[in-house]
């Protein structure tokens, strides 16, 4: 794993998310694709087990910094970390290599992370108004549609074009 490249990519994504992604905003609520969500699915589908945990929490942390829910730190760290790890584990059952499945995975992860983030934020603040349709439906849907396209330059930058063969690292016993 190229950690410097990872840090640059995630910070770039967070800056793009806060600024130029507004160009892609659609509708009255200015729905934009969530680049950090796309990266979460990207790394969860291409990294090994340990790296997935680190990248998921790190992306969640940056998401809390760049696009916090109710100015809170923590909800997206928790939800991204939890569901990023879960997505990695699910790959032993379902494969998300094809773009259409990647899109579906991004949508599902977007929905789940947003739901958990909103619940955690509500638990902390005592509940307040949020545009739930935008967070739970439109943004994940838009991210799911555009996500596979963003995954291509990310894969090029991270040198992760090759297919991941082994989801879990070899155990020390089998290496012997």
């Amino acid at each position: 794993m190229h950690w410097i490249r990872f840090a640059v990519l995630v910070l770039l994504a967070s800056v793009l998310q806060a600024g130029p992604m507004g160009v892609l905003g659609v509708g009255h609520s200015n729905v934009k694709p969530d680049l950090l969500l796309i990266l979460l699915v990207f790394f969860a589908s291409r990294c090994n087990s340990t790296d997935t945990v680190i990248t998921s929490f790190a992306i969640g942390f940056v998401a809390d910094l760049a696009a916090p829910i109710h100015d809170l730190m923590g909800p997206r760290t928790l939800s991204f970390g939890l569901f990023g790890t879960l997505l990695f584990d699910l790959q032993s059952v379902i494969s998300i290599r094809r773009p259409i499945y990647q899109g579906a995975a991004i949508f599902a992860m977007g929905f789940l992370t947003a739901a958990v983030s909103c619940l955690l934020a509500a638990a902390r603040t005592g509940g307040s108004e949020m545009n739930l349709y935008m967070h739970l439906l439109w943004q994940p849907l838009y991210s799911g549609i555009l996500g596979p396209l963003f995954a291509l330059p990310a894969a090029w930058w991270m040198h992760m074009n090759r297919r991941r063969r082994r989801p879990y690292p070899r155990s020390s016993r089998s290496r012997r």
């Binding site: 967070s14 600024g19 507004g22 340990t50 929490f57 809390d64 923590g74 928790l78």
Partner: protein, 278 residues
């Protein structure tokens, strides 16, 4: 020197991540979280500002080609101002509609048909330092000293006091619980009559003969009298004890029906003759 590689299991990393998230969410004060977010924004302020300018430039590109950028900016500013004004006017309209509905409901009440009311907003509410609320209507609107003041918190209104002082555009209300407030009243059924006397400690007192049965929660009415065409509820009985000075009488304590300190609007009964007050 060789750098030693730290091997951490996936479970440990996951637990650390969850702990970090929970700590930030529930332990770290929100001020500290905001500082961290502000630090991020200040570190990346240049790319963020650049990104924002790109977004705005794209927005601007959709404008009509007949106007230049300055005109377009002015139009956007005017649009924002107009939207703000419209929102304020809408709120005012809703407020007026709400008041009108309350007043209409009051005038539909039996006995109030021929009575003229003047609606007034409370400028300064009753509190510990200033016990008498001030309303925004005065002699110019027909308000006079001694007129009854009703609250609209319940549909048919309840007496909260009388006008104690008035000038051209404002007036003071002596609440029924204020010292010096004297109103002819009855407890429970309209047959048990007495004088409701303000005590100054958020309660009023009425002394009645002990032969009448009074229980806690019974309504207390301001009777039909000069200034009030029909009996109107003023409070409810909170306690009923033997009067210490005169054991043949009961000392009945009364609290207003509505929370006077939280009222926003009141209604002054302006058409009826003025009652007597101390």
């Amino acid at each position: 020197m060789k750098c030693k590689k730290v091997n951490l299991s996936r479970g440990v990393l996951f637990a650390w991540g969850i702990s970090l998230g929970l700590t930030f969410l529930f332990v770290v004060p929100q001020k500290a979280s905001s500082r961290l977010q502000l630090a991020y924004a200040s570190v990346f302020r240049w790319p963020l500002a650049w990104g924002r300018s790109i977004t705005l430039a794209t927005d601007r590109s959709v404008r009509s080609s007949n106007i230049n950028s300055e005109e377009y900016r002015d139009l956007l500013a005017s649009d924002r101002d107009l939207k703000t004004k419209v929102a304020n006017l809408r709120a005012q309209l809703q407020d007026v509609q709400q008041r009108y509905e309350q007043l209409a409901r009051l005038q539909q009440t039996s006995g109030w048909e021929n009575t003229a009311f003047r609606q007034a907003g409370i400028l300064t509410a009753a509190n510990s330092t200033q016990s008498q609320p001030v309303i925004d209507q005065g002699t110019e609107a027909g308000v006079a000293e001694g007129q009854f003041v009703l609250s609209l918190s319940n549909e048919s209104g309840s007496v909260i006091g009388t006008v104690s002082a008035v000038n051209a555009r404002s007036a003071k209300i002596r609440v029924i619980t204020d010292r010096g407030s004297l109103i002819q009243a009855s407890v429970g059924s309209l047959g048990v009559k007495g004088i409701l006397e303000g005590q100054g400690n958020q309660t009023a007192r009425i002394t009645i003969s002990r032969e009448h049965r009074v229980s806690v929660g019974d309504p207390v009415y301001a009777l039909k009298q000069p200034g009030l065409d029909v009996p109107v509820i003023a409070g409810r009985v909170t306690s009923c004890d033997v009067d210490r000075e005169n054991p043949w009488f009961a000392d009945v304590r009364v609290q207003p029906v509505c929370e006077v300190a939280t009222l926003r609007d009141v209604v002054v009964v302006v058409s009826a003759p003025q009652p007597q007050s101390r």
